[in-house]
Symmetry: C2
Subunit: 242 residues, 2 copies
């Protein structure tokens, strides 16, 4: 029930990372094209979820809305990380026609603002209609500059883990050091020495031990910790040492 019009010059694109215990994927959506065009395209018909914004809409709200429309995902925390303004983004005639057909507008120039988000694939239904998880290491050719965007998103995301404590957004409220370490490992693709890792963590006073341990696990139950955002903001002079 939007009153404002679509803005034919501004779009958003979303890079949604999905992780589980072992792998990291990106969410891509199907692009429907007229069959004639389909034959011509050198690309797979997968793209990042994205689209035009409304004139009375914040970019981040547009990103959330479009993500929901295309993938049904809700409540994903989105972070802006880039701007795409090259003049040849629509140089593929099929791409432009597709946009004009799906929006009903005349499109000449679209600048796109890029967002990324992270979700746990385990918390989601097995499959999402008209969307697909693609492993970060198996990306095929994608339309536009979408590969570059994804790569850039991953870099920014890793920085945000360090600078903004973003990792704690995707951990449960109570977590073990092991969980923290192996979640990080998924995003960095490597696992460091766990003794040294523990030493580091214990020095970070924004990671607070609870008076509580794991229960019902088939091994020595682990100490649980929580993340104290306030202490992080105050104390840390920026940049965690992960």
């Amino acid at each position: 029930m939007k009153k404002a019009a679509l803005n034919p010059h501004l779009s958003v694109d979303c890079v949604i990372f999905g992780y589980n215990d072992h792998s990291l994927s990106v969410l891509l959506v199907d692009r429907e094209m007229p069959p004639a065009e389909k034959a011509n395209s050198t690309y797979k018909d997968l793209k990042l979820p994205g689209g035009l914004i409304y004139n009375d809409e914040l970019l981040i709200d547009a990103a959330a809305r479009i993500l929901e429309e295309l993938t049904t995902l809700q409540g994903v925390k989105l972070n802006q990380f880039g701007v795409l303004d090259s003049l040849d983004r629509l140089s593929n005639e099929a791409d432009r026609k597709w946009l004009e057909q799906t929006t009903g507008l005349t499109i000449d120039r679209v600048v796109s603002i890029a967002y990324y988000g992270i979700v746990s694939m385990k918390d989601l239904p097995e499959s999402i209609p008209s969307a697909h998880w693609v492993d970060i290491n198996n990306l095929d050719k994608l339309p536009f500059d979408h590969e570059k965007i994804i790569c850039e998103a991953l870099n920014v995301l890793r920085q945000h883990f360090k600078k903004e404590g973003l990792i704690f957004d995707i951990l449960p409220e109570k977590f073990t050091i092991h969980q923290l370490q192996s979640t990080l490992a998924v995003f960095y693709g490597e696992k460091a020495d766990s003794r040294n890792f523990r030493k580091k963590i214990k020095k970070m006073d924004f990671i607070v031990p609870l008076e509580e341990k794991q229960q019902n696990v088939a091994h020595k139950p682990a100490q649980l910790y929580r993340y104290d955002k306030r202490r992080f903001r105050q104390f840390s002079n920026n940049r965690i040492n992960f």
Copy 2:
């Protein structure tokens, strides 16, 4: 001689830092307003140089063009660092009218992409018509969110010094360690121990000693160095230790 139209939805803003041996300033331009409005405004009539882009223009080209139009500065290397999309950017009626009058367009929503640049004030004419250098520590109230933008620009700039070797863009091709250190000091507002600084620098093999020394200086002539971009890209695993 542009054929394309102004894009009423997209603008750029430029934060141009000017430095000399001792201080760091930002370039602001006068904003002409009808006298009636002028009386109402709580702001000084200074703003960041910025304006709408043309539809066939890259954002960075627009930024360079607008910077030149408003300040006559040419050839400043510009770096994108932010996006401004809040809905109340034009909630000050005077601001919106000013935009509509100067562009001749109906303006409802403008998203702005922010760029920063750095120039040596010594290399420029004493005064620039209708523009002013304002010391970074003496910023008065500015329209919109321009104060926040400037602050953000400075943070990003400091990061780019470390991550992208940006500092070497503003040093002469042949420079001394002292020059490097005191230039950094202007942007960080502090100067560290020079013995330790030298030790650090000597370990960076992308800072290469030349077979050449200063001449005609009233003190022991200093070793000159150059910056080797290729070695920096290859070797440095990102982030100089300044």
